[in-house]
């Protein structure tokens, strides 16, 4: 059982504040008055809505279809009526809107027909696709579609599968409670991942401040008869970061340019394993998750919450104290104040903290950097935050990249230890989003340039072709005229008196006529060929249209008809010329 653990550099030990919310068991939150389900809940493509206003939906019914491979489907969290498919405020620091499906619950909470998925007899691709269809994403906070991580590297054999139950961020206890109460299902979910990736061993890392969870997991592993190893890891923020946990458990350091599978490691959150098991064994897509509600509330507790539940309704269950002045989504290190209290719970929401000034006193003003180097010692990625800070501040983004700003995981250790109270992470986020924006602009400019150059090239070519055609036509015209003149002369000569001058002219005109006929024949043949080709050409890629695509096409056709009928053809014809 004893195992050699490794260490990552840096890290901090903020007060954990976890005991408040572990006293009570998980409670199921009641169905709220309405559910706002954002379509874009995972990294990757935004799912396309497949329901319309007025549609009746059942719990677990698909409402957003995955768009592309890195994307995950979205489902109705309860049965009810779709009352809107429109832009709604998101739980995002920007406070901007995004496409969401709003559902008014009917209170029945009626499931769709749930079918377990027999994954042992299915191809790995089918299992991955099934998980995508079930909307299984990483529930640790990054919400990366899980099926995208379940493909082993072709060249490197899979050594270790790391299951992340560290939950290092203060206040959050949803994974802890999940492991205590539903350890068996978590372990079975891990079994699915193990079967897909076929690693040599499976390590379940749990911070040593959660002995009950570790004990429950150990018991479950034994009960099921698996050989997974439950490893307590030292409590140190951010031990729950994927790269940090991999480092602690396996000693492997994942380089910036590589993926962990390139080193034969893959990492999943315990809650992800749980939802994967629910999806496979019970046919339940991800429509709810565990959320810790804590902070400035009377009864901190973990709830099983439907995705799309407004945060204020959820918070009210825990009876927030009257001086609550905001909601933090996530933990105090990496979380953010939500722009509005009524924004919905999404798949990334692991914790809500009722904010007040006693718990989170307002930050004292930022002081100048004194180059003490505390941030560099605390950084779990061995970066130099003070350098990145300096250049982000000066907006010298090239230099920030030289200091590897994109390796920063924004864990907040540097801001936590900074004696000058500099909000370092905010500077890094600013620099990163500026660099991304610039890259987008650069790509757009490059594309525009290529298209512009191609257009110029095309115009040149068209001009050249036109000139060539004109020259040819002129030549043909001249030849025709010459032939006519010659023919006229010949007929004159033959008609009146057979002069010797006419002799050579007649064969020439005959030759010209023959040439012309041949040319006409080739032109005719070419036209026939073109016609045949046109007849043979069929619209491509139309055989295997999905229902949504067919519907799109129909919509476009309808719109085109409407546009055509609204403009009188006479008028348009008049103005075209």
């Amino acid at each position: 059982m004893l195992m050699n653990l490794f260490k990552f550099k840096g890290g901090v030990k903020p007060p954990t504040n976890k005991t408040q919310s572990v006293g009570l068991p998980i409670a199921v939150a009641p169905i709220p008055s309405r559910l706002v389900v954002p379509l874009h809940q995972s990294i990757g493509g935004t799912p396309r809505p497949v329901v319309q206003v007025g549609d009746k939906v059942l719990k677990g019914q698909l409402i957003g279809e995955a768009d592309g491979w890195i994307s995950a489907a979205v489902h109705a969290p309860t049965s009810g009526t779709v009352i809107a498919v429109d832009m709604q405020v998101q739980p995002h620091p920007s406070g901007l809107d995004a496409m969401s499906v709003v559902i008014e619950p009917d209170g029945q909470d009626q499931w769709i027909d749930r079918q377990p998925f027999d994954y042992t007899n299915a191809a790995p691709e089918a299992v991955r696709e099934y998980l995508q269809q079930s909307g299984v994403v990483g529930l640790g906070g990054a919400v990366f579609p899980t099926h995208g991580k379940l493909t082993p590297s072709k060249t490197v054999p899979m050594e270790e599968l790391v299951i992340n139950g560290a939950e290092c961020e203060p206040f959050i206890t949803c994974d802890d409670l999940l492991m205590r109460e539903r350890a068996e299902e978590v372990v079975r979910g891990v079994g699915i991942f193990r079967d897909l990736l076929k690693p040599k061993k499976v390590l379940i890392g749990i911070e040593d401040n959660k002995p009950e969870a570790a004990e429950a997991m150990r018991a479950a592993v034994q009960a099921i008869g698996e050989d997974f190893e439950v490893v307590p890891v030292p409590t140190l923020y951010p031990a729950g970061g994927a790269k940090q946990l991999i480092r602690v458990l396996t000693g492997k350091e994942v380089p910036a340019a590589k993926r962990s599978t390139d080193l034969g490691v893959q990492c999943f959150n315990v809650a992800t394993a749980y939802t994967a098991w629910r999806a496979i064994a019970h046919g339940e897509p991800v429509v709810s998750r565990l959320v810790t509600v804590t902070g400035n509330v009377h009864t901190p507790r973990n709830y099983e919450v439907l995705i799309g539940t407004p945060m204020d309704e959820l918070l009210d269950l825990a009876q927030p104290n009257p001086d609550t002045d905001g909601i933090i989504m996530g933990g105090p290190m990496m979380g953010f104040l939500v722009p509005e209290r009524s924004v919905p719970v999404v798949k990334a929401t692991n914790c809500l903290i009722a904010h007040n000034e006693r718990l989170f006193p307002p930050k004292a003003p930022e002081m100048p950097c004194i180059r003490c180097g505390s941030c560099a010692r605390a950084c779990p990625h061995e970066l130099q935050p003070f350098e990145m800070y300096w250049f982000s501040r000066a907006k010298n983004f090239g230099k920030t990249q030289e200091y590897h700003i994109f390796d920063c995981i924004e864990c907040g250790c540097c801001s936590f230890v900074c004696p000058s109270r500099i909000p370092l992470v905010q500077y890094f986020r600013f620099a990163k989003s500026e660099i991304w924006a610039r890259e987008r602009e650069k790509n757009a400019a490059d594309g525009a340039k290529t298209r512009f150059e191609f257009k110029q090239f095309r115009e040149e070519r068209e001009k050249a072709e036109k000139a060539e055609k004109l020259a040819k036509a002129a030549a043909a015209q001249a030849a025709k005229k010459a032939a006519e003149a010659a023919a006229a002369a010949a007929s004159e000569n033959t008609g009146e008196n057979a002069a010797p001058a006419g002799e050579p002219a007649a064969p020439a005109s005959v030759a010209v006529d023959a040439e012309k006929a041949a040319k006409m024949a080739t032109i005719q043949a070419a036209m026939e060929r073109a016609k045949a080709q046109r007849a043979a050409a069929q619209p491509k890629n139309t055989e295997t249209l999905s229902a949504a695509q067919q519907k799109d096409i129909d919509d476009i056709e309808a719109r085109r008809q409407a546009a055509l009928s609204s403009v009188p053809p006479a008028e348009s014809g008049e103005k075209t010329e």
């Binding site: 100048p368 300096w390 250049f391 501040r393 000066a394 010298n396």
Partner: protein, 194 residues
């Protein structure tokens, strides 16, 4: 042998051409905004200055002195330096057009960089022989590049600093240069061991 070392180290640090002799301040303030341009300017000046000291020694000793034409020194040195600068510019234009553009007006201005004329004249005043002249020229050039690059590094950092509005830009650069000069005065202590 140590005599040559003293000349070299003395030219780089103790009698630094910019901070102690106060020669060549124009490019020192003008091309020190970015580290990359400072590297380029340092390299160009090092090349020109070393060539200029060698060429001027040869001209002085084999052309001017034998015929008693010492009064033509300044004139002929300037012509030689101008030619070398022109040559350097052609080479840079060929190898690194961006560097040529960033150096901009300062590249032809190496011609009138007083350090480039000053060092050959100091060579003659100090009665250096050919090797000493080359060493002194190269040392001065390295000293120039050294402070230019250090200064550019500092100015790049100052960009991010909270400088009072009225001190931003050249004003804070002047203050920094002054502090640097003070620091280089400390090298005067090396003289004791000469």
């Amino acid at each position: 042998m140590s005599h040559y070392l003293f000349i070299l180290v003395g030219a780089v640090l103790v009698n630094n051409v910019v901070l102690v002799k106060i020669l060549g301040l124009c490019p020192f303030m003008g091309v020190s905004k970015k580290l990359e341009t400072a590297y380029g300017m340092g390299a160009a000046t090092t090349f020109v200055l070393t060539m200029a000291t060698g060429a001027s020694y040869i001209i002085d000793h084999f052309l001017l002195m034998p015929f008693g034409l010492e009064y033509l020194r300044t004139l002929s040195f300037i012509v030689t330096i101008a030619a070398i600068v022109q040559l350097t510019e052609m080479v840079i234009a060929k190898t690194s057009p961006a560097l040529q553009q960033t150096l901009g007006i300062y590249l032809p201005l190496i011609t009138t960089n007083c350090a480039v004329l000053g060092v050959p004249l100091l060579n003659i005043a100090n009665r250096h022989n050919f090797v000493e002249s080359l060493l002194f020229g190269a040392g001065s050039a390295v000293g120039f590049s050294l402070v230019l690059i250090l200064f550019a590094g500092m100015r790049e950092r100052i960009e991010g600093a909270e400088v009072p509005t009225y001190f931003r830009g050249v004003a804070i650069a002047m203050i920094t240069a002054g502090l640097m000069a003070l620091a280089f005065m400390g090298f005067a202590g090396l003289d004791k061991y000469q």
